[in-house]
């Protein structure tokens, strides 16, 4: 089992990574490129599990080399669990990436990070409802203060692949373009 940590740049991903893995981290080079990434290990139910801090990316439609690597790393680890770290104050943007990853068939868990920043900005997110709608675990975190990290770890086992079509069903009656016949 492998855990990928994905998210936009500047959402506190590397802080999150530090919290998960502790001090023992390895800087690696993605073969054939000059893109470096960090990986480390955390213990999960007494087992050592590899955690990879994937370079920050805004979407799975890469716009530079680092994003290309992020996408390649995701596609390579077909059975990986993905912790998608989202900036709570920018939920929509974060969901865009999270949905893309879910569409690829990965087991996703969403960390609504920087919850404090969102609170400062008077933004409230009902994480339970979000979890119901999406069908994947959603946890509020403040990585910088070590809040919510252990909950993310304990909920990892609940992550499972979700077909986005099922999410579409949830919002029947709302204004949308109907079930799409898209690729």
């Amino acid at each position: 089992m492998k855990i990928l940590l994905m998210g936009h740049p500047n959402v506190g991903k590397s802080v999150f990574f530090n919290r998960l893995t502790g001090a023992n981290v390895i800087e690696s080079n993605y073969s054939g490129t000059t893109v470096d990434y960090t990986r480390g290990y955390m213990s999960l139910d007494g087992k050592e599990v590899e955690v990879v801090d994937v370079p920050g990316t805004f979407s799975l439609d890469p716009k530079d080399r680092a994003e290309e690597v992020a996408v390649a790393m995701l596609k390579e680890a077909k059975d990986a669990y993905v912790i998608c770290v989202i900036d709570s104050s920018k939920l929509e943007r974060g969901l865009y990436l999270a949905l893309q990853i879910m569409e690829e068939g990965y087991s996703v868990i969403i960390a609504l990070n920087m919850d404090d920043v969102a609170e400062d900005k008077n933004i409230k997110i009902d994480s339970q409802k979000l979890e119901q709608i999406l069908g994947v675990p959603v946890v509020s975190t403040i990585a910088i203060e070590n809040i919510g990290i252990s909950k993310v770890i304990s909920r990892l086992k609940d992550a499972k692949p979700v077909d986005v079509e099922d999410i579409t069903v949830m919002r029947a009656g709302m204004n949308h373009r109907g079930k799409c016949g898209c690729t």
Binding site: F58, S59, D61, K63, K90, E92, R93, Y96, L97, K121
Partner: protein, 75 residues
């Protein structure tokens, strides 16, 4: 009134109407999309990039990218 994003004045706001196909996927992940309110935060001199605010987040785009986005200016 419709304008190109690059033509918005400082602090002027508008609604995104149209994004050129060549740019659509690139900017989608950053939250730049049709129907969103956009405010011009800064325009760098000498055809430098613009910084716009959408959904409380700031994105910087090159001038010619901004020319490929059409907005409806708010009064």
């Amino acid at each position: 009134m419709e304008k190109r994003l690059s033509e918005l004045n400082f602090d002027e706001e508008g609604i995104v109407k149209e994004i050129d196909e060549s740019l659509l996927r690139q900017v989608a992940g950053m939250g730049v999309r049709i129907g969103k309110n956009v405010r011009m935060t800064t325009k760098q001199p000498m055809k430098g990039p613009v910084v716009v605010e959408i959904d409380k987040s700031f994105t910087s785009l090159g001038r010619s990218m901004a020319e490929k986005i059409v907005v409806e200016v708010k009064k």
